[in-house]
């Protein structure tokens, strides 16, 4: 059996290999959050993080975060080699404490949003975004 190079490479799957197994939060993610909060307690609730359950393209995943009353919001992609994504700061004249952006995810992982409220307290929300090879849909 002869396998021509052209045929073998035709699929192009090799170029698209993703990290398929879910990525665990790495220590750098915890460090980034600790640096933002100064080690203070972080409550659940008060932050809305909207992200797709399954990414259509792991290289550009649209996310949206809102936390009424926040002074700043930190976004962390917990499984990325460099977990820090962005910090949004809101001045006193900001009409809404909300922002949207697109982020790159190395694989299935949790995206975490931590908000620093005007009173100095912290709140967070997280969402699991799956990155998959896809195919085979019914």
């Amino acid at each position: 059996m002869e396998l021509s190079r052209r045929e073998t490479l035709a699929l192009g799957l090799g170029a698209a290999f993703l990290t398929i197994m879910p990525l665990r939060a790495n220590a750098a993610a915890e460090d980034a959050i600790a640096a933002f909060t100064g080690g203070a307690d972080v409550a659940d609730g008060g932050v809305t993080l909207t992200a797709p359950e399954i990414a259509e393209n792991g290289n550009t995943v649209p996310i949206e975060v809102s936390a009424p009353g926040a002074a700043s919001i930190l976004i962390v992609a917990a499984g990325n080699p460099e977990p820090g994504v962005a910090t949004f700061n809101f001045g006193p004249l900001a009409a809404a404490q909300a922002a949207s952006t697109r982020i790159r995810l190395a694989g299935t992982q949790d995206v975490i949003a931590v908000a620093k409220m005007a009173d100095g307290s912290f709140a967070k929300a997280s969402a699991t975004v799956k990155v998959t090879i896809g195919g085979c849909g019914g």
Binding site: M1, A16, I54, T132, G135, G137
Partner: protein, 565 residues
Amino acid sequence: MISRRDFLQVSMAASALYGASGFGNWARLAAQQSLSQDQLLEFETFGNISLIHVTDIHAQLKPIYFREPEINLGIGDARGQMPHVTGAAFRKAYGIEDGSPSAYALTYNDFAALAKTYGRVGGLDRVSTVINAIRADRPDALLLDGGDTWHGSYTCYQTAGQDMVNVMNALKPDAMTFHWEFTLGSDRVNEIVEGLPFAALGQNIFDAEWDEPAELFKPYKFFDRGGAKVAVIGQAFPYMPIANPGWMFPEYSFGIRDENMQAMVDEVRDAGADVVVVLSHNGFDVDKKMAGRVQGIDVILSGHTHDALPEPVLVGKTHIIASGSNGKFVSRVDLDVRDGQMMGLKHKLIPIFSDVIAPDPAITALIDEQRAPYETTLREVIGKTDSLLYRRGNFNGTWDDLICDALLSEREADIAMSPGVRWGPSILPGQEITREDIWNVTSMTYPNAYRTEMTGEFIHVILEDVGDNLFNPDPYYQQGGDMVRVGGLGYRIDVTKPQGQRISEMTLLKTGEPIDPSKTYVVAGWASVNEGTEGPPVWDVVENHIRNLGTVTVQENTSVDVVGA
């Protein structure tokens, strides 16, 4: 021999009012009835609004055989819940007698024998008769198409969906949502949708660049019916660019977007909707979860996962209706809506027994017209089968085994992979296999049968990835297909484990040796979502294989060991 016109017991009637538990009514109603077209259609008109639901027709214009699944596992909270109940357990749940017409329509057992007695199902000319009968009772009944309509046959492929558009337009739907339609490519979809004489809906169809609702597809439409204002909200298949080739429709983005669904429900309620209906291509478990998260939906007409349920499933105050696939069923749902509230619902899953329900001659003529240019090609006999050929089920069906064998032998591969799609009619033992039959289980716009090398480790990654798309305990992370079908490879799957731990004991069948993660294997497959995939179309591969065999016999497949079911 009993005549087909008098044998059947109409068994699929159910009424569900608030507070009624899931099971029970149905068997009693079934027992009171016997079979004829009139009785199949018998329905005491209820309330002031009628909905007619068809979904996942997959371009099946003519009557076919369609075997329901033997294995349809529910994971997590869905374990043992409808629609994850099959065979005898399904018949017991709804009080269906073994060997009855309902058993034939809704379960897999003795399929070949019952098919010989009860005949083919579906055919859009029969569906038309049913729709006309419902419209005779209620002239302003809403006809709602759940999508996967413009895909799945030879003629649909050759006409880029035009055959289905022509026939469906003649049935006069009021609204539609989408999935496989997008695999025609966005230019063609846009062209058809711009000319549709009915609403093209999808609250989750977004412009990919701006992440804003796509202009061409509206989120919802209002209909004034029976003195009430009916809002129909569309929900397209959420994972189109993932499960299907996103490069064919790069301008569009989807997703579940249940926060936007809630916003749309609130918006239509504020605008005076008396009743809110969601026309969905989510898949049943996703619809169940959505019904629990989004408040204010009265009825979800559910598609995508091809389930046929004779009674609605109730989540909170939301009734979920599942209407099967391939033209095999039509659901009629009558609603009593008064003072801005749904007071009651009556439902019937109508099986389209093609020998019992008379075809609508106008639609028969229209179907024949679509097929006429291709009739000789369609009818060409390629071979014959000694075995029942079917696809539906979480793991390999016999059609899939045959396709995988074709890939192994025609493409000289160690391992074959075939997509776990849920469409594709069945063929009975002793039947001839025509070109049309082969296209019915392979037709798509990305059919290239590739041949490539993969390491054992990567094959494992693929099986784990697809396994998680099916068996993730959270329905929002499922894509609604079945497990990728494999040839030349055996494996064990524990469906209860997390991703990365489900698949073990992978074995190369031709040597009996374990798959070596670092070794390279030649893999043939088709339906890759990657752009630029090369190889002959899979229907040619399968046709050559069947022609070479002459008569097909598919052996029992025991290469997948399922645990935790």
